[in-house]
Symmetry: C5
Subunit: 98 residues, 5 copies
């Protein structure tokens, strides 16, 4: 899974029928040490109610169809966790509520 | 899913039988903040009637077989949505009808 | 799918039994605007009778097993189309018989 | 599979139900010759009891669901081995207990 | 499939039960024109008895589970062929027994 920040949303009215009703999040991949954005973006289907600004990780590939929201759907990216904290070498690089 | 602009089409008369009748779109990946093309191209099977110039997102990998058009076919990329707008940090970086 | 030029072949006598009798093409990925090679190569299983010099596109991942030639075989890349022409922004960047 | 060093952990309380109880390791990919980190990180599900500082390799894609811990779950990365040593061209580049 | 040189082995005593008894090869990807290593490494499961120094190609993703050795196992890379020769534009860039 890859760590990213939710930076926005993508809206489409003309789309494959199977993905109607799903929320498409715009994610920017981050460096989990500096927490800076990498300028690399992906559209991901939300399965956990993530909001703009939150740090999440998403799953790619066929496993993106293994959430309650995306089962059987044409998805290659799904947000599966909102991150509370990231610990690296004994130090927090990120804590959600600080 | 990855955001891209439809920039053209690819035509083939000698191809795997299973993919006959499918429209092959030439997509250029974009930076969804600047909306500029990245010079990185992919051939994607159309499942939504997308046209040249439109901003779309496509699904990769096995999930590219999960559309009505591509089911059971050798596809690793399918356009599944035409984008109406992209919102980043509260501002639109793209609106279709402007 | 990714556009590439067939630049050669790879021959192996000691290989997994399931892939005996398959032709292994050496492909060089191309920029479909300039038609120049990228110096990035992949070995792909031929399902359409492609020859050296031709422009093709190939399918990656599990979908590379969805051709008549590669079904049930350990393949992650299969050539599924020989390209006749590529059109970008209303102009041909490639025509096979010119 | 890709070689990496376990550098930390990622904690999430709001996540897909299926992945509750799984330990999320923060991995940094390494160059297995110099053993230096590449500054490239991935979140991986632990299936072998790996600890911070250990060299491991992880499996990506659908095969990340083929461990006892991750079966049927939305996982695209699972640690499947703690490395004892790496031998390159007849020399050890890494030995765990030295 | 990707061309690579077998440069070593990786040994692990603490690993997922399903992958016991499998040989883990350290591969370095090569440029098949210059035959030089790219400094990019992958751990691959051997299905053909490949030895250090040999040029091989390996299969990635779910298809890495489609060999006799790796069936049903958490593998995303399997060596499926030892290369005899590579021909590019009518010339050999590699011949095994020269």
């Amino acid at each position: 899974m890859i760590l990213a920040r939710v930076v926005g949303t993508v809206v489409s009215s003309q789309k494959a029928q199977k993905i109607e009703g799903i929320r498409f999040l715009l994610l920017e991949k981050i460096n989990p040490v500096t927490m800076e954005g990498k300028g690399d973006f992906v559209v991901s289907m939300d399965s956990v109610g993530a909001g703009v600004g939150e740090i999440v990780f998403y799953v790619s590939g066929s496993s993106a169809r293994y959430t309650d929201v995306t089962e059987g759907k044409p998805s290659d990216s799904a947000v599966i966790a909102i991150v509370d904290f990231i610990e690296k070498d004994g130090k927090y690089t990120y804590e959600k509520n600080r």
